[in-house]
C-alpha cells in the first residue's frame, strides 16, 4: 500500500527544516558528516511525523536526543511539541530499563529450566518455536525501541515502521533525483 501523501508531506516539511538548520549552522562539512546529518534529520522528521503515537518513533527521538550534538536539531524539527515528546520518550526509556532487568531475571530462570528438558526428543514444534523466537529477536533489534515490546505490539510497530520507512524512501529518492538532475543541467 502506498504511504499516505499527508505523511510524506509532513516528513518532507520537517526534513527540509532540519536540513536547513544543519546547513546554516555549519559551513563546511565532510561527506560523512553530511550524510549523517541528512539521515538523522530524515529519521527524526519521520519519527516526529508520527507525533509520538508509536513506540518506535518515541524511541527514535529519545535515542537521537541523547546525543548532545543532535539536540538542537531534534528540537528544531520537533517544533513546539518537542517538550512533551521528549518527556514521553524519556518515560519510555525508563520503562525499557525496567523491562530489561525483568527480562534478564526471567531468562536466567528459563535457562535453568531448558537444561532439564534438553534431553527430551526434539519436536518439530519446538524447532519452529525456536525459529520464531530467534526471528522476533532479530526484528526487535531492527525496530527502534523494539526491545521492550510484546510480540503483539512488535508486529503493530513493525507495520507502522514499514509504512514510514517507505514514505521516507520515496521522498528521499525523489529529492535525490531532483538534485541530481539539477546538477546535471
Amino acid at each position: 500500500m502506498r504511504p499516505p501523501t499527508s505523511l510524506k508531506k509532513e516528513f518532507l516539511k520537517k526534513w527540509i527544516m532540519g536540513l536547513q538548520l544543519c546547513s546554516s549552522s555549519k559551513k563546511e562539512m565532510s561527506f560523512l558528516e553530511r550524510k549523517k546529518a541528512i539521515k538523522l534529520s530524515a529519521d527524526v522528521a519521520m519519527a516526529s511525523a508520527r507525533n509520538a503515537t508509536t513506540r518506535w518513533s518515541r524511541a527514535l527521538i529519545s535515542n537521537a536526543s541523547k546525543d548532545d550534538s543532535n539536540k538542537e536539531l531534534v528540537e528544531c524539527i520537533l517544533g513546539p511539541e518537542s517538550e512533551s515528546l521528549k518527556r514521553a520518550s524519556m518515560s519510555l526509556v525508563l520503562c525499557n530499563k525496567r523491562n530489561r532487568s525483568k527480562k534478564i531475571l526471567r531468562k536466567s530462570c528459563s535457562i535453568r529450566r531448558a537444561r532439564k528438558s534438553s534431553s527430551q526428543m526434539v519436536m518439530a514444534s519446538s524447532i519452529a518455536k525456536r525459529l520464531v523466537k530467534k526471528r522476533t529477536q532479530v526484528l526487535k533489534s531492527l525496530i527502534p525501541g523494539g526491545g521492550s515490546m510484546s510480540e503483539f505490539s512488535l508486529i503493530e510497530e513493525t507495520l507502522d515502521y514499514i509504512l514510514s520507512l517507505r514514505a521516507q524512501v520515496d521522498v528521499m529518492r525523489h529529492l535525490a533525483n531532483a538534485t541530481e538532475l539539477l546538477n546535471r543541467k
Partner: protein
C-alpha cells in the same frame, strides 16, 4: 427424547425429502433434519422480526439463534443439540475488521465466504439457510467437507440446554477434527485463526452469533474478558467442525468459544485470543510486505519482514549518502530549481521566482483533468511541492496547506523526468508529457539508473 411431536415437526419430517436411509424410522439423523426444518421456519418467522442491521452473515446468526430460541421455547430440555450444532456450523458470523487506524482503511470488512456446504455435505434441506446474502463459509468448507461425517455423528451433538445459553461460562463447543489437521499445530492454529476472522475487536464489534444472544439477554457475558459464549451450546463432546468464534459484543468483553477438547480456563482462552490477534496482524503484514502471499508460516513471514525492513533501512542509508554526495553544501535551495528552469512548464506559470505560493495554485489546477493518472504521479510528484516548499522556507513564509495539497495530489507536469525531454515529446509538451506520465511510473523503482540514462 422425541417428545417434541409438534405438528409442524411431524409435517416437516414427512415432507423431508433427503432423509438418508430409513424413511419411517426417526433416527437421530432424521430428527435432526426435522429440527432443522423447524428451525428454518422459526428463522423465517423471526427474520422479519429481527432487524438486519448487521452484515449479511448475521442472518445466519439470527437463524441459528432463532432456531435455538424456538427450540428452547418449545422443547425444554428435550432438545439434543444436533440441529443446534449444525446451526452453529452454519452460523459463522462475519467478521468485520475494525480497521485499525485510518492508515489502513482498506483492511475493511472481511467477510467469510461460505457456500452451500450444507446442501452437498450435510444433505440437509438447508436451502433456507443459504439465503443469507453474502455469507460464505469457504474457510469452513475445508473443515466441513467432512460434514457428511459430521452429519453422521450429528447424533452425538452436544446437548443443548437452553439454560446453558444463558449461563455459558467457559463452555466448549465443537471439537476440531483431527482428520483435518495435516499441518503442524501451530500452522493449523494460524490457519484456523486466519480463517476465523470473526473477531470484532474494538470499534466495530461485529455482529456475531452472540449478538443474537444479546437480544435474549446479556447474562451470557461473564466478567472475564475471555468468556466463551456459545450460541447454541456448550458441549464438551460435540463433533462439529466449527471453530471458534470470538467477538466483541461490548467493548469490555471478548467472547470466545473454546474448541472442543481444549482447556476452558481463562488462561488458555486468553492465550488463544492473543494468538488470534497476532495472526490477524500478521495478515496485514502480509499485505504490506511484497512477496509474502505465498508464505504461511510465522517464521517464514517474520523472515520476509526482517528482510524487507533491512532493505528499507539500507535504502535510506544509501539515499542519504547519495544526497550528501550530490549536495556539497547541503543547501537545498529551491530557487535553483526554478532558476535553472528544470521545470519548463512550471516556468511558464511562475513568471517570477518570488511569486507567492497562493498564486501557483491556479497553475496546478490547470492539470486537474489528468488527476487519475496522478495517482502514480503522487509518488513522483513531490518535486513541485519541494520547490514550493523550499521557496517558502528560504523566504520564511509558512507553507499553506492548500498549496501542498494541490502539489501532492495533482499530476506533476513539472516533473524533473520530463525536464530534459522536450524534444522527445514534441510540441505537445504539456499534453504529451502528461499522457506519458503513466509510462514513467516505472521510474519510481529503486533503480534510477535507467531514468537517468533517459535524460542523457
Amino acid at each position: 427424547m422425541m417428545n417434541m411431536a409438534s405438528p409442524e415437526m411431524l409435517h416437516c419430517l414427512s415432507t423431508s425429502g433427503n432423509v438418508a436411509g430409513n424413511g419411517t424410522d426417526m433416527t437421530v439423523f432424521e430428527r435432526q433434519r426435522v429440527r432443522m426444518k423447524w428451525q428454518q421456519e422459526q428463522f423465517q418467522q423471526q427474520q422479519q422480526q429481527q432487524q438486519q442491521s448487521y452484515f449479511g452473515g448475521n442472518e445466519f446468526s439470527m437463524f441459528s439463534m432463532g432456531g435455538q430460541v424456538g427450540q428452547a421455547q418449545q422443547f425444554h430440555g428435550l432438545i439434543n443439540g444436533d440441529s443446534a450444532g449444525v446451526g452453529d456450523l452454519l452460523g459463522r458470523a462475519v467478521k468485520a475488521d475494525p480497521g485499525l487506524e485510518n492508515v489502513w482503511p482498506e483492511f475493511g470488512k472481511l467477510t467469510m465466504p461460505g457456500t452451500g456446504f450444507n446442501v452437498e455435505n450435510a444433505g440437509f434441506e438447508s436451502a433456507g439457510i443459504l439465503n443469507c446474502s453474502g455469507f460464505e463459509m469457504n474457510h469452513t468448507t475445508s473443515r466441513t467437507s467432512s460434514c457428511p461425517l459430521a452429519a453422521a455423528e450429528a447424533k452425538v451433538r452436544e446437548s443443548v440446554l437452553p439454560e446453558k445459553i444463558a449461563s455459558a461460562v467457559g463452555r466448549e463447543s465443537f471439537k476440531k477434527r483431527k482428520a483435518d489437521k495435516v499441518q503442524s499445530p501451530k500452522v493449523v492454529a494460524e490457519e484456523e485463526t486466519k480463517d476465523k476472522r470473526i473477531k470484532g475487536y474494538a470499534e466495530d464489534g461485529e455482529s456475531k452469533i452472540t449478538e443474537a444472544n444479546n437480544n435474549k439477554n446479556s447474562t451470557t457475558t461473564t466478567t472475564t474478558t475471555a468468556t466463551t459464549t456459545t450460541t447454541n451450546n456448550n458441549n464438551r463432546e460435540t463433533s462439529a467442525d466449527t471453530s471458534k468464534v470470538s467477538e466483541v459484543q461490548k467493548p469490555d468483553y471478548i467472547h470466545v468459544r473454546a474448541r472442543r477438547g481444549q482447556a476452558t480456563d481463562s488462561h488458555s482462552l486468553a492465550e488463544r485470543v492473543r494468538r488470534e490477534k497476532i495472526s490477524e496482524r500478521m495478515k496485514y503484514l502480509q499485505d504490506l510486505v511484497p512477496g509474502c502471499n505465498k508464505i504461511t508460516g510465522k517464521a517464514g513471514m517474520l523472515d520476509e519482514i526482517i528482510n524487507y525492513v533491512q532493505s528499507l533501512q539500507r535504502q535510506v542509508e544509501f539515499l542519504s549518502m547519495k544526497l550528501a554526495a550530490v549536495n556539497p553544501r547541503l543547501d537545498f535551495n529551491i530557487d535553483n530549481f526554478l532558476a535553472k528552469e528544470v521545470f519548463p512548464a512550471c516556468a511558464a506559470n511562475f513568471p517570477t521566482i518570488g511569486m507567492s505560493s497562493e498564486m501557483t495554485n491556479p497553475s496546478y489546477l490547470h492539470y486537474d483533468p489528468i488527476q487519475q493518472v496522478a495517482t502514480c504521479g503522487v509518488e513522483m510528484g513531490i518535486n513541485p511541492a519541494e520547490i514550493a516548499l523550499r521557496r517558502t522556507i528560504s523566504a520564511p513564509v509558512s507553507i499553506p496547506d492548500t498549496f501542498l495539497d494541490s502539489c501532492f495530489t495533482q499530476i506533476q507536469p513539472s516533473s524533473t523526468w520530463d525536464a530534459d525531454l522536450p524534444n522527445l515529446y514534441g510540441p505537445e509538451f504539456h499534453q504529451g508529457r502528461l499522457m506519458s506520465f503513466p509510462s514513467q511510473a516505472a521510474f519510481t523503482g529503486p533503480i534510477d539508473a535507467s531514468n537517468l540514462k533517459m535524460e542523457m
